[in-house]
């Protein structure tokens, strides 16, 4: 007996040792963990239809799914290249009808199944919001056949039917939202604690401080390895950089060039550049500054506009401001849909001698020998409205000023508050506007800023650029099975008409902690792949072992 007792004691000790030493070791070798994202804004209502941008939208995209996601090529046209999400499959009944088969395993975070009724409800809700209704204007109806089959009918054939049916709508729960009117949604209990169907579920929000999400254990496409996602709010870019450098955050996006250099010097961090939807350009006003009834005395001449573009070494300018991750497009083409450009196409290199000759041929010479070109007594002097929200646009404007002065072109850079610059832009009170835009991942939105139909409309074609052929090509592209041909022709026209100096398509530069084994980013929605992230086994930090907050 004593012997057996001692054996039991030894066995117990061994068991205890195993549980205290080996189990934590086993835990350490798994690839789960947390991600702390330093973000610039809070997310008080991360709910589709309320959230359309910023952190609200980013969080909403982790909580809610679409029927399908864009594929790695980010092509918005055709039915191929999309990845199943809530819909496990789709097919066509005819050119006007798309049928989606919902994945029967899909669940809301409250345990209820996702059904066709939710998709119909989401579509109906979208009709109450003018912008969404406009984006979905070619969807005639959405109906159900049973609980898991959804039928989209379109008013006519166009190549982005699947894109519209999937990308535009994050599916919302009918059973929780049907009694909440749209106007009450931002302040509703649902907005404070959203119930979604995505890979992460809502945990809590500390106003102005953080948002916490947790992996949804019953996520039908597989539980994420990231157990917790925190969005740490810090409105100041320096504060976000400090969070990353101090190890208090794992990811920070939109790093400036100096910030990128500091991140590169940190051995725990890695820099990743993700294609973005952003473009920066100097928009020419083709109408007189402040008077849309008259042509601009200088910029209405396309030869002058082309000469201005030719006089600038745009790649060098872009690199000096955005670093090596930027590209220079010859049209409104962000990196995100660079596929629309013809392969191997390069921008025309800078040629100041040719630019000078073109200006001379257009009658712009220094007649009075004051160092500034003139024509019919009008000096070549333009104002450049430059919003001061980010440092990049003023830097680009100042470079333009310095590079054009030797040619006898005087630019007056007018640095102004963003809101003031937007008001002046909308009312046509500018010669050149240092603009930037974040575009949807489709060239079909070009009509917004570059079509005759939207000339002089507020926030749209404020430069009053009009080439009717572009309108016609846009229409053709929207009904063609091969719209890329038309898009490339539009780009050629824009290149020839030179309505703007396209200065940069910058990438989104992101600093990430090195301990993640994989950290894919999605250009159209950065955190969409967060469910595929994992931590390199053995490199977990203490905070990766989540125990707090249920």
């Amino acid at each position: 007996m004593p012997r057996s007792r001692s054996r039991i004691a030894v066995a117990s000790c061994a068991l205890l040792l195993t549980s205290t030493v080996l189990l934590p070791a086993q835990r350490q070798t798994n690839d789960h963990g947390v991600v702390i994202i330093a973000t610039g804004a809070d997310a008080p209502a991360p709910v589709p239809t309320v959230a359309t941008f910023g952190t609200n939208w980013e969080v909403a995209n982790l909580l809610f799914l679409r029927l399908a996601e864009m594929g790695p090529t980010l092509t918005s046209v055709g039915d191929r290249g999309f990845i199943p999400a809530l819909a496990r499959a789709w097919n066509r009944r005819d050119s006007l009808t798309l049928v989606f088969e919902l994945d029967p395993r899909a669940l809301w975070h409250d345990g209820r199944p996702v059904t066709a009724a939710d998709v119909i409800f989401t579509f109906a809700r979208s009709q109450e919001i003018p912008d969404l209704a406009s984006a979905l204007r070619r969807v005639k109806s959405v109906s159900a056949e049973g609980d898991h089959r959804v039928i989209f009918r379109f008013v006519r054939f166009y190549p982005e039917q699947l894109y519209d049916a999937t990308h535009q709508m994050l599916i919302m729960p009918q059973h929780l939202l049907k009694d909440i009117p749209l106007d009450s949604l931002p302040t509703s209990a649902f907005a404070q604690k959203p119930v979604g169907n995505g890979p992460f579920r809502w945990v809590r929000r500390v106003p102005g401080q953080l948002i916490e999400l947790a992996a949804f254990d019953r996520f039908f496409l597989g539980r994420p390895k990231i157990d917790r996602v925190y969005f740490r709010v810090a409105s100041d870019p320096d504060a976000r950089l400090n969070l990353l450098l101090a190890g208090e955050a794992d990811v920070a996006q939109s790093l400036s060039l100096p910030a990128e250099d500091r991140v590169r010097q940190d051995s725990n961090l890695v820099v990743t550049a993700v294609p973005s939807g952003g473009i920066t350009y100097a928009l020419f006003n083709q109408k007189a500054n402040g008077d849309r009834g008259k042509p601009h005395p200088i910029l209405s001449d396309p030869v002058v506009r082309r000469a201005l573009i030719l006089a600038l070494d745009r790649p060098q300018m872009a690199r000096s401001v955005y670093g090596g991750h930027t590209s220079v497009p010859d049209g409104p083409v962000p990196q995100m849909f660079a596929w629309v450009q013809a392969p191997g196409e390069r921008i025309v290199p800078s040629d100041t001698a040719r630019a000078r000759a073109m200006l001379a041929s257009a009658g712009w010479l220094d007649h009075d020998r004051d160092g500034i070109l003139d024509k019919n007594g009008i000096p070549f002097e333009l104002s450049v409205n430059t919003p001061n929200r980010t440092p990049q646009r003023p830097m680009l404007a100042q470079q333009m000023q310095a590079r054009l002065l030797p040619l006898g072109i005087k630019l007056n850079v007018r640095l102004m508050e963003y809101e003031v610059s937007q008001t002046m832009r909308d009312s046509g009170q500018f010669d050149i506007d240092m603009a930037s835009a974040n575009l949807d991942p489709t060239p079909s939105g070009w009509d917004w800023s570059w079509s005759c139909a939207n000339v002089a409309k507020k926030r749209q074609n404020v430069g009053s650029y009009c080439n009717p052929e572009i309108d016609s090509l846009l229409l053709k592209a929207q009904s063609s099975r091969d719209p890329v041909v038309h898009y490339r022709r539009i780009l050629a026209l824009i290149r020839s008409d030179a309505p703007a100096i396209f200065l940069s398509s910058p990438a989104n530069v992101i600093g990430v902690n090195k301990r993640y084994a994989s950290h894919p980013f999605r250009p159209e929605m950065l955190w969409l792949s967060l469910r595929h992230w994992s931590v390199t086994p053995g490199q977990q930090l203490p905070r990766d072992r989540v125990t707090s907050t249920p």
Partner: protein, 323 residues
């Protein structure tokens, strides 16, 4: 005295009302449009833009907007933020505790450490310690807070990891954490922003208090008190300090609004989500409802600061009391 107090309070309320009317109309004279600011670089249709304009009555006449604002304000409703799309009172209530904590801690340090050091210096006038503290306070006074904040964050958060770089609480502070654990966590986050804010203001307070004390310590009644054989501590604290407090009382009135505004820069650099940051973002975004809410709070504190100063003078100075 009660009559005086009533008249002074009525004057304060009239000042507050006038300030709010002027602010309401001035804000709308500033170029820029709240909806334009709200939309930013995103594309939004005319219909959606108009929907927002209608919701906030931005195209209504100014008198109509003002009457709406006043009517709601009397019911305790300051409207809905254009940028945040949430009630202003809710937004301010969320951020007020953080601002009060930051501003309150700074004011507390100013009026304890700053005053004590100023008095200490004054009674040691001309000695090495006085000269040293004078030099230190001059340096502190000259240091720009924005630079100091960045340096402190870099040194003590990024390099040394002694204090957190940003935020009010740790991200993984358990919701079941006890009050002591929570207070310690908040305290760690409070150190760098409070030090940044206090370095300049304590230096200023020391200078004011030192000079005021030196002036008083020269007066005949202090010499008389010492001649009577009173202990030096009694002379300094009971006789001199009381009279040296008048300029400090004025400073208190001027600094009271710090309680509500904190420091925009410090809030920004240290991710301290307070009212100062809310108001600054509202200025950029032309978020009129939030701006008016902030204006009401700050104006009230400014007026209250003046009132408290006057009452303080009356209590401390018999000449004022009997005038």
């Amino acid at each position: 005295m009660i009559r005086w107090l009533l008249i002074r309070t009525a004057q304060a309320l009239a000042t507050l009302a006038a300030a709010l009317v002027i602010l309401f109309f001035l804000m709308r004279l500033v170029p820029g449009d709240p909806v334009t600011a709200f939309i930013g670089d995103r594309a939004m249709s005319q219909a959606d833009v108009q929907r927002i304009r209608d919701r906030y009555c931005l195209d209504c006449s100014l008198p109509h907007q003002f009457s709406q604002f006043i009517g709601r304000a009397f019911r305790g409703d300051l409207g809905t933020s254009i940028q945040h799309q949430r009630p202003v009172t809710q937004l301010m209530a969320e951020r007020l505790p953080a601002t009060l904590l930051l501003g309150g801690s700074t004011l507390f340090l100013n009026f304890t450490l700053g005053l004590a050091l100023g008095v200490w210096q004054a009674v040691r006038k001309g000695r090495t310690v006085d000269r040293l503290l004078t030099a230190v306070s001059l340096v502190g006074y000259a240091v720009p807070s924005f630079w100091l904040g960045l340096i402190l964050a870099w040194m003590f958060a990024v390099r040394l990891h002694w204090f957190p770089s940003s935020g009010i609480t740790s991200i993984q502070l358990s919701s079941e954490a006890g009050p002591i654990e929570t207070a310690l966590d908040i305290g760690r986050h409070l150190v760098l922003p409070v030090v940044t804010l206090s370095v300049v203001s304590i230096a200023a307070m020391m200078r004011y208090q030192r000079n005021a004390m030196i002036e008083v310590l020269r007066l005949d009644y202090i010499r008389t008190a010492r001649a009577k054989g009173l202990a030096e501590s009694t002379v300094v604290i009971r006789h001199a300090w009381r009279n040296a407090l008048f300029p400090i009382l004025t400073l208190f009135g001027l600094w009271l609004p710090i309680l509500a505004t904190g420091s925009v820069f410090v809030e920004s650099v240290f991710g301290w989500s307070g009212l100062g940051l809310l108001a600054t973002n509202a200025i950029g975004g032309r978020d009129y409802p939030v701006l008016m809410g902030s204006a009401i709070l700050v104006s009230t504190l400014i007026v209250l600061g003046g009132l408290i100063t006057d009452i303080g003078y009356m209590i401390l100075d018999p000449q004022v009391r009997h005038r």
